[in-house]
């Protein structure tokens, strides 16, 4: 009898054949980064240039796209992947660079070194970091290479890079040395020294180790270098930026849908739930409820109909993890949901996604269609007798719909208002039927847990927070981007090692996690490990993964006000503490930043905040005061300065600023012309003067002055 696993392997081989057929005439594949952010940076134009060159016959290369690799600050990016050779990634590619890549690299085989991010050094070490290879031995190997290469002063000649899954999981850990194209398999950390000394320095491959030479040349996709990825572990983002998200074949080639086939062949629903429970996976939407228990509760209910929902209503300002995951690897979420459906006994899945993410929606639609065509969705999946289908529902811009009961109301076609729990959706959810709601990142973890096992998964992370967490690192940090770190990584490691420190080497002030529901942590919290409990005890929350770095130029009171404006506006209005409370808090904050703060305002904010947290109906209200309370806790002196001294140390709150013209003034009259209230007087070529009574502190003069003659204090 053919089992689902047999069916899958056949499909996988066909998929790999199709990939190789496409590249039959070429030994290279060009991958152009095509996530929303890359497109915004101009990658569509770059794509056209490459496609055009192929069409005109200038180059014979297969051109395709991939999702986000998390290098937001250097986009657009282009990878040239070549059979049997080290991949080359180009960064900051504009039209001119693209043409240069075509002329020099693709036609003549010469790398355009000044734009290469990796692949241009004498030798490259590529270590497989496919999600299935991530284990402690792999980590030791990385460290051994790092140490030996540094000790032998090889840093300028040799680079350490990481690749996605090579599809040789039984041979892992695997390390490939380029340009020699020699792979060491089943490698041990203690043998690394030998490889460095003999192979890298003397140029002689270490024959006595397990070594693969002259194998069939393959396309090896590299995602990054050690400097940015040393502290990262990519489980959720395992395929992001490595595969073409609009081509199911590429997903199948990297063990896609294997978990589903495994579950349908060998596991009962109960066993699946046990596995998820044992893994220790907790909800990645922010609250951190144990996923396995949620599944178990939903499975326990008997009903003629059950639903599985993927919450992709990523509404936090400053968060783009879920968007990037969907845009880069939509099938991983679909696969997770089908497994979830099998485990709880549901045949119907719904993905609730923001309408503001058109590309993610489009890629999901393509992925769903392909999955249906290949028989992973629909009736009798892979001949197992189990049926499951997924439908997309669009959100319409309401932050509160991230809350599961509000989300359910929205899918039902109502205003997205929450209701008291219990009953929880696991008992009474969509259309009053038992419903399992998990967030995008949670779903994307499921296939890996099933293939690699709960034991493997639970080794990563801390005692109570297992696995990894994806963060959207943004704000005043050098390397903004999408990152994934094991739970327990400290904020300092994220901001300084992965993020590369503060932009323009300014002073660090705070890091904000959890968006409008989270808090701001100060310098003394930088060594806090990222896990659910530690972040809460420091005064913030894990949240869904927005992480904004704030430097000395931002005013913490204004930041708190910004978040409160957001929640106040997004409050659905159903319960009084949230509706009225946030409004009153905002009024107080507004008067503080306007320089009209009164003695006792801080205490009022604390009291109100505490009440809103205790008395609100849903998560939105219960967490709305967090940004204010955490900034009061960690930056109380800034509040006091605003209220007592009417001063804003960040020079951010305009009402607390004074603009004055200094002796640098040349009398060019630029400021006088631009002042909207005619507060500036003075004749041409003479020093001007600002009338402080009239000045509205808009800063227009300060911005327009070319002689640095206006002081702002």
């Amino acid at each position: 009898m053919t089992t689902p696993i047999d069916v899958l392997y056949k499909k996988k081989l066909q998929a790999i054949d199709r990939i190789y057929n496409k590249t039959y005439f070429s030994d290279k594949i060009i991958y152009v980064g095509m996530a929303s952010c890359e497109i915004a940076a101009g990658s569509k134009e770059i794509m056209e240039i490459f496609k055009d060159a192929v069409k005109k016959g200038t180059i014979m290369t297969y051109v395709t796209q991939r999702g986000c690799v998390g290098l937001c600050s250097v986009e657009p990016t282009v990878d040239i992947v070549e059979k049997g050779k080290m991949s080359v990634r180009y960064i900051n590619v504009n039209a001119e660079v693209a043409k240069k890549i075509i002329e020099e690299h693709l036609k003549k085989g010469q790398i355009v070194k000044e734009h290469a991010y990796f692949g241009a050094k004498e030798k490259s070490i590529v270590i497989c970091q496919g999600a299935f290879c991530l284990n402690s031995e792999n980590q030791r190997i990385i460290e051994a290479f790092k140490e030996n290469i540094e000790n032998n002063n090889l840093k300028d000649k040799v680079e350490i890079c990481f690749s996605g899954c090579l599809g040789m999981c039984n041979e892992g850990p695997i390390v490939i040395v380029y340009p020699d194209n020699i792979a060491y398999t089943k490698l041990k950390a203690e043998d690394v020294k030998l490889i460095v000394e003999r192979h890298l320095i003397e140029g002689k491959p270490v024959e006595e180790l397990n070594i693969l030479k002259n194998g069939k040349p393959r396309f090896i996709k590299v995602f990054g270098t050690i400097d940015k990825f040393y502290k990262q572990k990519r489980i959720v983002l395992r395929n992001c930026g490595l595969i073409d998200p609009e081509n199911i074949d590429e997903y199948l080639a990297v063990r896609g849908y294997e978990s589903l086939a495994k579950v349908l062949t060998y596991m009962t629903p109960q066993q699946v739930i046990e596995e998820v429970k044992k893994s220790g996976l907790r909800g990645r939407g922010g609250a951190g409820y144990p996923t396995g228990i949620k599944w178990e509760l939903t499975a326990k209910e008997s009903s003629d109909e059950k639903f599985v929902i993927c919450n992709a209503d990523e509404g936090d300002p400053g968060a783009f993890m879920d968007r990037s995951t969907i845009e880069g690897d939509p099938h991983s979420i679909i696969e997770g949901m089908i497994i979830g459906g099998y485990a709880i006994g549901s045949n119907k899945g719904i993905i609730y996604i923001r309408a503001e993410y058109p590309l993610a929606v489009e890629r999901l639609n393509i992925a769903l269609e392909q999955a249906k065509k290949e028989g992973f969705l629909g009736e009798n999946i892979l001949g197992s007798g189990f049926s499951f289908d997924i439908e997309i529902r669009l959100g319409a811009g309401a932050f509160v719909c991230g809350e599961e009961t509000a989300l359910i109301h929205s899918i039902e076609g109502h205003r997205g208002m929450p209701r008291p729990r219990p009953p929880y959706p696991s008992v009474k959810g969509l259309f009053d039927k038992p419903t399992l709601v998990n967030n995008v990142e949670t779903w994307a973890n499921i296939p890996v847990i099933i293939i690699s096992g709960s034991e493997w998964f639970s080794e990563i992370g801390t005692k109570r927070s297992k696995g990894t967490k994806v963060f959207a690192l943004a704000g005043k940090v050098k390397n903004t981007g999408l990152i994934e770190v094991p739970m327990g990584t400290t904020l300092r490691e994220i901001v300084y090692e992965i993020g590369g420190g503060i932009l323009n080497d300014k002073k660090f002030k705070a890091v904000q996690t959890g968006g409008p529901s989270g808090g701001c942590l100060a310098e003394e919290h930088l060594d806090t490990p990222v896990d659910y409990e530690s972040l809460v005890s420091a005064g913030s929350i894990m949240g869904s993964g927005g992480m904004i770095v704030i430097d000395e130029e931002s005013c913490m009171v204004a930041v708190a006000k910004f978040f409160l404006e957001f929640t106040q506006d997004e409050s659905c209005g159903k319960c009084t503490p949230c509706r009225e409370g946030t409004k009153r808090m905002l009024e107080i904050l507004t008067r503080i930043v306007e320089g009209k703060g009164q003695e006792g305002d801080i205490e009022k904010l604390e009291r109100l905040g505490d009440m809103i947290k205790k008395a609100s109906l849903c998560g939105l209200g219960q967490s709305a005061p967090n940004p204010v309370l955490s900034t009061i806790k960690n930056f109380r002196e800034e509040y006091e300065e605003h209220i007592k001294n009417k001063k804003c140390r960040a020079r951010f709150c305009t009402n607390l600023l004074t603009y004055e013209i200094t002796d640098n003034c040349t009398g060019c009259t630029a400021c006088k012309k631009v002042c909207p209230v005619e507060a500036i007087s003075g004749s041409p070529k003479q020093k001007h003067l600002i009338n402080q009574q009239i000045c509205i502190k808009c800063g227009a003069c300060w911005r327009v002055c070319r002689f640095n003659a206006i002081s702002r204090s």
Partner: protein, 166 residues
């Protein structure tokens, strides 16, 4: 309906065809938000007579539809300008000076947030977060994202759009 011009009649026909998909569908009212998205796709905003048509088809009171439509930010109740400008006010953009960008746009377009410029060319809107945080501050015009903006570059971009209509 008597006030509709020929363009609107054409749009209404498209809507009616679309709504046929929902006749006799189980739990049809749960598709309301999906349908509202389609209305906005077709008309550019939630046209009142279109909503009446929707109410008729899926047998839901118009008052309920208005309740839903006004709850969600994404739905527009007024006819927008030819170009839709959304200024991202997400955290990263805020930290990097989105307020200056919005002030400049208000000045250039002579309208407030949520309004349409007097020449009918531009709608000015706020967006929560466009998810392009690394390019902050960003503005989206008709789906195209412009990043790393300054008040000066915004002026330049608006100028380019205006020149297309001269």
């Amino acid at each position: 309906m008597e006030n509709l011009d020929s363009v609107d009649l054409e749009k209404m026909k498209i809507l009616k065809d679309y709504l046929k998909n929902f006749k006799d569908k189980p739990r049809v009212e749960s598709n309301l938000i999906t349908i509202l998205h389609k209305v906005q796709d077709i008309f550019g905003y939630l046209d009142r007579s279109a909503l009446e048509e929707v109410a008729e088809t899926i047998q839901v009171p118009t008052s309920h539809i208005w309740g839903v439509a006004t709850f969600y930010h994404y739905f527009k109740l007024k006819k927008p300008g030819k170009h839709i400008i959304s200024v991202c006010l997400g955290t990263a953009c805020y930290i990097k000076g989105a307020d200056e960008i919005i002030a400049k746009l208000k000045e250039e377009l002579k309208t407030d947030v949520g309004g349409v410029s007097p020449d009918g060319l531009f709608s000015l809107e706020e967006a929560r977060c466009l998810g392009a945080c690394s390019l902050a501050p960003v503005v989206m015009i008709d789906g195209k994202v412009y990043g790393n903006l300054t008040p000066q570059s915004v002026t330049q971009i608006i100028k380019e759009y205006k020149s297309k209509h001269k």
